[in-house]
């Protein structure tokens, strides 16, 4: 009798013990600074909301650093459950079938409620396979928009409420701004690769590569050396020579923001997620927001812009209980409240329709003019094969190639056509290498 109750008591202790120990889930991310603080806040909110799982978010540095760290950890069998990977790493992650647990599969296996249709097509299209299944969880997606200095526009005799809509206007406005002495330079831009080539192509409904920009299969090739892209790069070189355009450097273009903040350049193109930074750094002048410019004589322009940013990938090699927690956390992350909060704070796109609607009901867009430019631009038209996104292996290096050839162009070492042809030849070689390594 005594023994039996003792055993029962012991069993009870064990059972309750196991139900109290929360399952640990690790999440490696690349959100530093203000965004990192917000992310920690979201995670803390999740951990406080339930007792079964405990998410630990770890900041791993820049996007490439986070991705490399996760890959190295996977090779050493120490991988996190969730890793945040930037959009150009998508090709690499997708090819790693043995390492990645596709999100649609995870949600199905764990029986979590999950509706892929709730997400914005322009966002999800980037991260689905050819059958339309979602491979990773969208988290922070942005798209480039145009910022302009209203005070300088006023000084130059331009309408401060009218951002330039076309490239023709960007040129004529810039000339007016410079000749009137309102500012030293017309415009600058971050991300030559992402904004002035990839988004430029999608915005004008021009192909970036074959096979629906690589989304249709791994045997795709780059084709963004078309007439229109050559025309645009020719203009950028011409405008740089005339001083209308100032180059902000490779990759994200570190020198571009200071040129806009110091009122040296009046117009500035960069990610919608730069919005918070732009507002914080433009205390001395009023900022306006607009969509990306287009060439008015191009048929089908403007189409829609494409996204950048990152998604969350789940890595294989953990047990079922952890994956249940991951699914539960993802459901929390994509809830309208969390999404709307994150989007409104950071300038990233609301990734679900519900989050966008919530923002409208809260009156956020009316109170914060310009905060919905990005979402309007990305949903301007239903995406075509040219504007769904892009997916190529080794794309991280291809981005570097774009920067290098653009530098060759600006330094006068290559003609526009020659530079773009070289991007395509070198890029296709990298894609072929990737195919060989992942074949």
């Amino acid at each position: 009798m005594l023994t039996r109750s003792f055993i029962a008591g012991l069993a009870l202790t064990f059972l309750s013990g196991s139900s109290f120990a929360a399952t640990e889930i690790t999440w490696w991310h690349a959100m530093g600074g203000e965004l990192g603080k917000k992310l920690d806040e979201i995670v803390a909110k999740y951990n406080a909301s339930q007792g079964d799982y405990k998410v630990t978010a770890v900041y791993k540095g820049s996007y490439p650093e986070t991705m490399t760290a996760a890959i190295a950890a996977f090779r050493a069998k120490q991988q996190p459950d969730i890793v945040q990977v930037f959009e150009v790493g998508t090709g690499t992650m997708m090819a790693a079938e043995g390492a990645v647990y596709p999100v649609y599969q995870l949600m199905k296996d764990t029986g979590a409620t999950f509706d892929p249709k709730a997400f914005l097509p322009a966002v999800v299209g980037y991260y689905t396979d050819t059958d339309g299944s979602m491979l990773s969880m969208p988290f922070n997606s942005s798209t480039p928009i145009l910022y302009y200095n209203k005070d300088v526009f006023q000084k130059a005799g331009l309408d401060p409420e009218q951002p330039p809509k076309t490239w023709e206007e960007v040129e004529s406005f810039s000339k007016k701004i410079m000749s009137s002495g309102a500012a030293k330079c017309g415009f600058t831009t971050g991300w030559i690769s992402w904004i002035q080539l990839e988004n430029f192509s999608a915005w004008h409904n021009q192909p970036i590569g074959t096979q629906q920009n690589g989304i249709g299969g791994m045997d795709a090739e780059l084709t963004f050396n078309g007439d229109l892209q050559v025309r645009h790069w020719t203009n950028l070189k011409k405008w740089q020579d005339e001083g209308l355009f100032q180059y902000g450097g490779p990759a994200g273009g570190n020198d571009a923001p200071p040129k806009f903040y110091s009122q040296e350049c009046a117009i500035y193109m960069n990610s919608s997620a730069s919005r918070a930074g732009v507002i914080a750094n433009s205390k001395d002048f009023k900022v306006g927001f607009g969509m990306l410019p287009y060439y008015s004589d191009v048929q089908g322009a403007p189409q829609n812009s494409i996204i950048g940013g990152a998604t969350l990938w789940v890595l294989k090699g953990h047990d079922e209980a952890e994956y249940k927690g991951v699914a539960n956390f993802f459901t929390f992350l994509s809830s309208p409240e969390v999404q709307a909060d994150w989007h409104q704070y950071s300038g990233y796109l609301p990734i679900t329709e519900a989050a966008y609607r919530l923002g409208q009901e809260q009156g956020f867009y009316a109170k914060n003019p310009g905060s919905d430019v990005a979402i309007k631009q990305i949903t301007l038209n239903p995406p075509t094969d040219n504007s769904k996104g892009l997916r190529f292996g080794n794309y991280v290096q291809i981005r570097d190639v774009i920067d290098e050839e653009f530098q060759n162009l600006l330094a006068g070492k290559k003609a526009p056509k020659e530079a773009l042809d070289s991007v395509v030849t070198r890029g296709n070689k990298l894609i072929a290498d990737f195919r060989a390594a992942n074949g």
Binding site: G98, P250, A411, K413
Partner: protein
């Protein structure tokens, strides 16, 4: 002449004493080096899910790769330039200080300071000084009519990385030259002075030849430094840009391997780099050393 010999009573003791050093060499040098050699014959995806043996393909690809040949060329300019500049300036400072009657200690302290600065910090500092938008030097250069732009002009970028990489190395070279100068007998210099040789003549006929062992040693050390240890400087200043004009071999190993995740090619490049440095050192010890008067 009697040499001092230590005799170990226990036969195992000498080996045991060597063990920590051997362990460090094996773990931090031999093992990774062997791994690099192995990987250089393989083609592997980033996650290590599929590995294929490709023989010499990674090496042959390098010969075909214009960006690799460019990197060789860039290194062939960068490494000798850094060596020449840092050894040269080190020598000039040391020789000037040697003639200084007062304030020598203060100057030498100041000259040694840069060596305590981490390379990445030095890189950032030079990047700031030379920044085309906010930097001081482009502003001054603009006054004399030179438009500095290392973001686009390969020559400007090369000058920037050479200066940034040499700067802190000057201190190191300075210290060695100071020590070398103190070893030169004052009587020789005085004798030459009495014979009517001026300071410049004395430097080139007496001081410099007697310093040649130091100079030779520093040339080797600095060349190896320029080829291997300048990664943080490049990373903090140009990142190999513009258009790969400052992408030296060691930086390319990092970019291709850690950013591009092309492990096979990156491993092959590091093996080649290793071979180059070994070959350079052997050449210098075998041939150059003979012409050096110790």
């Amino acid at each position: 002449m009697q040499t001092k010999r230590t005799v170990f009573g226990n036969r195992l003791l000498p080996y045991a004493l060597l063990l920590p050093q051997i362990a460090v060499t094996v773990v931090f040098f031999l093992w990774p080096a062997a791994q690099a050699v192995l990987q250089s014959f393989q083609r592997e995806d980033a996650f290590g899910l599929s590995t294929t043996w490709v023989g010499l393909a990674n090496y042959l690809d390098l010969l075909d790769d214009p960006s690799y040949l460019n990197s060789l060329k860039v290194t062939a300019i960068f490494a000798p330039a850094v060596t020449l500049l840092s050894v040269g300036l080190g020598l000039v400072f040391a020789a000037s200080l040697d003639r200084l009657v007062r304030g020598g200690r203060a100057y030498s302290t100041l000259l040694v300071w840069p060596y305590a600065v981490a390379p990445a910090v030095a890189g950032i500092m030079w990047w700031f000084l030379f920044n085309p938008t906010v930097g001081l030097l482009p502003y001054l250069l603009a006054m004399i009519g030179y438009r500095w732009d290392h973001a686009l002009q390969p020559t400007d970028a090369m000058i920037l990385v050479v200066i940034a990489a040499s700067w802190k190395q000057v201190s190191y070279n300075f210290l060695f030259f100071m020590a070398g100068l103190q070893a030169i007998p004052k009587s020789m210099i005085e004798a030459a002075a009495i014979d009517g040789a001026g300071p410049v003549k004395r430097f080139f006929t007496i001081v410099f030849p007697l310093l040649s062992p130091t100079t030779f040693f520093l040339a080797v050390i600095n060349l190896v430094y320029a080829m291997f240890d300048t990664f943080p400087v490049i990373h903090a200043t140009t990142g190999g840009n513009p258009a790969q004009s400052t992408n030296i071999l060691v930086y390319k190993v990092f970019v291709d391997g850690f950013i591009g995740l092309n492990l096979g090619s990156s491993a092959a490049q590091s093996v080649v780099l290793m071979a180059i440095v070994v070959a350079l050192t052997v050449i210098q010890f075998k041939w150059v050393e003979r012409k050096v008067t110790y």
